[in-house]
Chain length 489, copies 2
């Protein structure tokens, strides 16, 4: 198998397929990003890390990737239905803030949390509110093509006509249209639709709705599904390589995106659809009412009653990568503590590579990189990659205690491979500040050892000098019954 | 004088005026932000810090401030004129990138640099490309009012008619319209205008122009002056309190903003116009061709031939605050080194406050806060505030050596005031990472001292033990001709 023979599970085809980009050497990838009306929680970490891994691996394979992840700052309605109150506008009124102020506040907090998780920034992060004109253009196209109708100032996509002409509604989610009609709840404004399965392309704003733009149909706002069609087409073209998102977006969101593209551009938007599976917490679905809704900030600080301790961003990242992205994943203190230990072991071994003494022959296998790429090429199988890294950790320990041997050239290659897989492909890194803190702790232990030796030898000069010099660095030492403690100002 | 009696130099009136907000307790402030087609340089630091100080001080006075600073990601034309090539689109074509990818890349780098300078994020940072529909609305209004005309698919503002009807073109910049016509260069497309002083509200895109949107006049893009009118009105209202920017934007940009608002909304947009003055480098204007164009990243790293060393973000911030925002400011190594020393002295004194021994009477004046607010209320006079802080530094040193005395309650108040002025109002802080580095450096000096004493005493045991333990912390020491050096892995 060629290094670049990457197989991806394509939700659209319900099987793994060889990845072949539309344009040689380049990949266009669109992923549904966050709705920014609250703090990023565990449910945001998984898709962000899943598609970060895919972004990283495609680049590792040599592709030039344009990765677009949108920010939904308008139009995502409560109850995930077409009617109801715009989530962001509601929050804004509660806080007496401009909706955009709320959206930008939470966008920054989302990006800060993603930075902490070492998730690379996408190439473009377009906002829904910043692409109203592009969305209106697509509404016009779909109207021109006859697959939408105006009703009381709003515009609806005609699912029944689309289904009759193309037989495509359900192509992605595998649902049948009769079920869709049956599962659509009765909500205010339903009467405007010809059929309950129809979805809004443009909604006339109610008088209290703050976020609104003028259009030829009404002052209103675009339907939620439309922004992804508009922004993916604008930045990646009418057809592009990969569309990703959480499994919860499969229907109606992604199914509707396909319908919109087929009617507006006469093509399905993406060739490969990738969906990450959901997370649970102690076996339960996460939800505000269940008391297990944990924000990433709370996790990083250990500030939630369900948490026994704080978990670092890298522990969360490592934990998520220990499961395949298409499996469900259950968060529990036990599982996170195990991940924390595993990650620590991994980085200790990584640090120890430089302490390995080389010999004149190599007794271990040097197939770490080929095993890792084989696993990644099999639909980004990160748990298998991690298992191979742990095998390498065992080898490192055997090399350290002399049970195995390695030549200098092979050690160089082995170390480079380990580093590339750990840091470049999986995006795991030792957290800066923690590292700095470790060095300070280590140096302080060393100095306090010297000081107690001096005191044992009744060398008060040295002992006092150390105390004074530490004090000038803002470090206070205190001799107590149980030994010496120190603190910083 | 009341604590809240703030006087602001209003460029519009050419004098200092008592600040009175339109809505009690609230302030709306709009500031022209960066064009994101390259790295942030010294010229970006000054306006960002100037309006950060104003944002901070208004909040200190108890105002709830909505601070909007735009990001120009489209439509800012080369030569600061209406014609020419869009700067961002040009860069994108050179790098074979989507213009939005370039814009978002440099936006992130700009914000990172501003974060380093401890510049608070504005409440809203809207992008020009995200407000095309709002800009088109204003073009329509101005056309409807009769102050614009369509010419070959573009729309121009009719300066001559506006001047005839309102006599306002020049109200801010104090220019007379005949001069404006005389200073307008002849450029491609000039022939479309009725008068050379007219400016574009909407430009028809040339075939090679990438960033374009459909409008009733042409596929094109908005004129540069329009975005600020559209975004300030959207987020702050048709009239708001403060409009800020660099003095270089006074004409034609701000003058044209006023003209647009007067025609579209029948009001001048802002009641107070604040302009920061320009910077020079070693007495020269900064420019790429002069070889003195220094990015903030280069300054922070000391990575430019004109720099004798790196200067920390806080040194830059402190240096900028040492001049009043309406004075010109010259950067030189000498001046920055002096600022670095002054800032160090300031923070040393701040740290020493907690080491002051209190007594039963107070012999120093406790008017630091009233002096600082008096200076800030006089058009944000930060150099005077800093002078008062240095007076306080002298007092701290006198209190430390016992020449002056202070009670515990007064020391508490004095320390709180010093901290509020230094950190909350001026936004100066000790830099985390630099600080951590300093501690590591200090501890290493201590350990290397002990080691050389051990070696001098031929105590090889201690010397070797220290070397080994440092090595386990990832620190390598090396004995050379000129002494001991150390490095980290």
């Amino acid at each position: 198998m060629n290094k670049t023979d990457l197989y991806i599970y394509n939700t659209l085809k319900r099987k793994k397929e060889l990845f072949e980009p539309l344009t040689e050497g380049r990949v266009g990838m669109y992923v549904c990003g966050p709705t920014v009306y609250g703090d990023a929680h565990l449910g945001h970490a998984r898709p962000a890390i899943t598609f970060d891994i895919i972004f990283r691996y495609l680049q590792f394979l040599g592709y030039k990737v344009r990765y677009v992840r949108n920010i939904t700052d308008v139009g995502h309605l409560e109850n995930d239905a077409d009617e109801g109150e715009d989530k962001i506008a509601k929050k804004a009124r509660l806080e007496e803030l401009e909706p955009m102020e709320v959206a930008q506040y939470y966008t920054k907090r989302y990006l800060d949390a993603m930075d902490a998780l070492n998730v690379l920034r996408p190439s473009i992060q377009p906002t829904a509110s910043g692409h109203i004109i592009e969305q209106i253009e697509i509404v016009k196209r779909i109207l021109d093509e006859g697959y939408a109708y105006v009703s009381n100032g709003s515009v609806y996509f005609d699912v029944v006509k689309y289904q009759r002409d193309t037989n495509k509604y359900g192509i992605l989610s595998n649902r049948v249209i009769e079920d869709m009609i049956a599962t659509t709840r009765e909500l205010d404004g339903q009467g405007e639709k010809h059929n309950p399965a129809d979805f809004a392309l443009w909604k006339k704003a109610s008088p209290e709705h703050i976020m609104r733009w003028r259009s030829e149909w009404s002052e209103g706002f675009p339907g939620w599904h439309l922004e992804c069609t508009a922004m993916s087409q604008k930045y990646l073209g009418e057809q592009f390589d990969i569309h990703g998102g959480g499994l919860d977006l499969l229907f109606p969101h992604h199914e509707s995106e396909i319908a919109q593209s087929v009617c507006a551009f006469h093509t399905e938007p993406a060739r490969y659809w990738i969906h990450n599976n959901m997370i649970t917490i102690n076996g339960q679905k996460m939800g505000k009412s269940l008391g297990n809704f944990i924000t990433l900030e709370e996790i990083f600080k250990g500030d939630h009653s369900a948490l026994q301790q704080a978990y670092s961003p890298m522990t969360i990242r490592f934990f998520i990568l220990q499961a395949h992205y298409r499996s469900t994943l259950d968060f529990s203190n036990e599982a996170l503590q195990a991940a924390e230990k595993g990650l620590k072991k991994m980085f200790e071994a990584f640090d120890n590579i430089k302490r390995i003494k080389t010999g004149d022959k190599t007794s271990i296998e040097l197939d770490l990189m080929s095993k890792a790429t084989e696993a990644m090429n099999d639909d980004f199988n990160t748990p298998v990659v991690i298992a191979h890294l742990f095998e390498a950790v065992r080898n490192i320990n055997l090399l350290l205690d002399g049970s195995e041997s390695i030549t200098e050239a092979d050690l160089q290659r082995f170390g480079d491979d380990f580093s590339t897989i750990l840091q470049t492909i999986l995006g795991l890194c030792e957290q800066e500040s923690g590292n700095e803190q470790n060095v300070v702790n280590g140096l302080m232990n060393l100095i306090l050892d010297i000081r107690s030796q001096a005191r044992a030898a009744k060398d008060w000069n040295t002992s006092d000098k150390l105390r004074d010099e530490l004090s000038s660095l803002g470090i206070t030492i205190k001799d107590g019954k149980d030994g010496v403690t120190w603190s910083r100002d």
